[in-house]
Symmetry: C2
Subunit: 338 residues, 2 copies
């Protein structure tokens, strides 16, 4: 039972996207002009208020309910030695999330966000995509649907993240398939592989690219052949959020690569998404630039788990609080500029 009958149904949904609300965005701009501060002096905080209003469709943006969805999956390509950690760590970290012991648990607490972790058939890794597609159509559509259906209807902001040993290899392969270039351009150290491992990882990606070059004309086939279940779920969640009027905060390299096929299908498909952070993972800068996403932070993080997407939530809360709570020049009887 999946949300999308076949790839064409998913493709149709990806192409038929609602626009944001110009009137909500205009209302925010008009109010910003009369709040007690020099024009534009809150910089990106002002942009964030406009962006939230546009995609929430509300002239006064709010962050009453912030959700973090972390999808987890396992990858057949780990058999090729692309990670210094064993694949068993994915399930162990999911258990750590459940007990509250991971970084994302602490960061979600500070952010006042609701964290939900969704493991996707961890006992059934995707296929090794150097040999065959990572997923068949049914598995791919199922994972997309899990992500699509996981988005809470009443959310004011959706932060997306992932966990999956081996998934920076999948993300790099997807980035290469979508934007060109080979393993050397897109492979990074992931959880911390050494030089020999990095060269091996680049070679694995090149092998996968050669195997699946025939599908490079179709971004969804790229996600199916080179991605993974948690990456597909992020694609589904990003799409669902757009259809439901929920702004999305993207995390790092894997999360960005997961959503990227949407932008290849329709250039404005990620306008409702913001990038939290420029990851230390090698390929992220090029990927963010290819997508026109300007990160909010550059903290040298490379953890995933939605850690950066959730870390920036209080910055958005400050943007919303300033917009809603500041006095106007007239209310405060402050002289405006001469």
């Amino acid at each position: 039972m999946t949300q999308f009958r076949d790839l064409d149904a998913l493709r149709t949904a990806c192409l038929d996207l609602p626009a944001g609300s110009d009137s909500a965005a205009s209302a925010v701009l008009a109010r910003q002009a009369i709040l007690t501060k020099p024009a534009g002096s809150l910089g990106r905080l002002e942009d964030l208020a406009v962006w939230l209003a546009r995609w929430q469709g509300r002239p006064m943006p709010r962050l009453d309910r912030v959700d973090v969805l972390v999808f987890a999956g396992n990858h057949g390509v780990t058999g090729q030695g692309v990670s210094p950690y064993p694949a068993s760590v994915t399930a162990q970290m999911v258990a750590n999330f459940a007990r509250g012991g991971a970084a994302i648990n602490q960061i979600a607490g500070v952010a006042g966000a609701v964290l939900r972790v969704i493991p996707l058939e961890l006992e059934r890794p995707t296929e090794d995509f150097t040999a065959v597609p990572a997923m068949d159509q049914a598995a791919f559509l199922h994972a997309v649907s899990v992500g699509f259906e996981a988005v809470p209807a009443g959310s004011d902001l959706l932060c997306l993240g992932e966990m999956g040993i081996g998934n920076t290899t999948a993300a790099a392969a997807m980035a290469a398939g979508l934007f060109g270039g080979g393993g050397q351009r897109w492979a990074g150290r992931g959880t911390g592989i050494d030089d020999a491992g990095l060269a091996r990882k680049a070679g694995v990606i090149d092998a996968a690219l050669e195997r699946h070059a025939g599908c490079f004309g179709d971004p969804l086939l790229i996600a199916m052949a080179l991605g993974g279940r948690e990456l597909a779920a992020i694609l589904g969640a990003t799409l669902a959020a757009r259809l439901s009027g929920i702004p999305v905060m993207l995390d790092g390299f894997v999360c960005t690569a997961s959503a990227a096929p949407l932008a290849r299908l329709r250039p404005d498909a990620l306008d409702h998404a913001m990038l939290a952070h420029l990851s230390a993972e090698a390929g992220h800068r090029a990927l963010a630039e290819a997508l026109g996403l300007r990160p909010l932070l550059d903290f040298g993080m490379r953890l995933g788990e939605g850690s950066a997407a959730t870390l920036v939530v209080p910055l958005l809360r400050a943007a919303v609080a300033c917009h809603a709570g500041m006095a106007t020049f007239a209310e405060a009887a402050v002289d405006n500029r001469a």
Copy 2:
């Protein structure tokens, strides 16, 4: 009644500074190595935990009490037409702070910080420093002392900010006196002056530099001749925090320039201070680089009020929460790397 009898007493205090705690910093590094994440993958969040521990002198850093001090002052140099806003706005904004209508009120609320605004003789602007020193020795030492004494003993983090029409001119003049270069290098648009005003502002700074070149060998005389009461108070507060084991978060251009004389007296004097943000004010990048301060954010803000210093507090809370709350590999039974 001031904390410092004369300039020499202040200078002596500025030169006799305690070091941070190496053992607290080492304890944080040791724990970070066993928490359930790839080594170093929390990037700057890990650095922040080490920095807080070092300067709090605690192996487990905390942010139970965060204080924001905003100092306000008026400037005789506003008579030269260096700001698009009238000097009356300083007192009006102080009233706005008191009623909770300014940006800093909203941001402090999100940060869970205690905000205190301290106006410094707003009815007595400093002298026009194109003609005479901004302050005499008594006025300067009094302002430094107000800042010094305002630092709450039990604080875990001190965020500093300012409000004062005309004070980007004072800050630019101080930066020029401390680091060389003229008005054109250091003058920015402040609250939003036009091209003609910017040229006038640079000229005013150059006139002040010519008038006070004789004192450029002494950072404290520079602060007295070219600064302002709120800038002097920030210097005093930054010094007091160092002596009390309280890390300091600096805000934007004016705040950074205010603390800069300390670093000219002793190169490691700002090691307990972090820079929150790279301001859009023109001279801030050069000033931050001259001081070796690497900003946490680059949000294009240029408001002052401690807005950026307070905005980043939740990022530090996340760093502290991750450090204290994450499970170790052993506790979580997660396999560490092979």
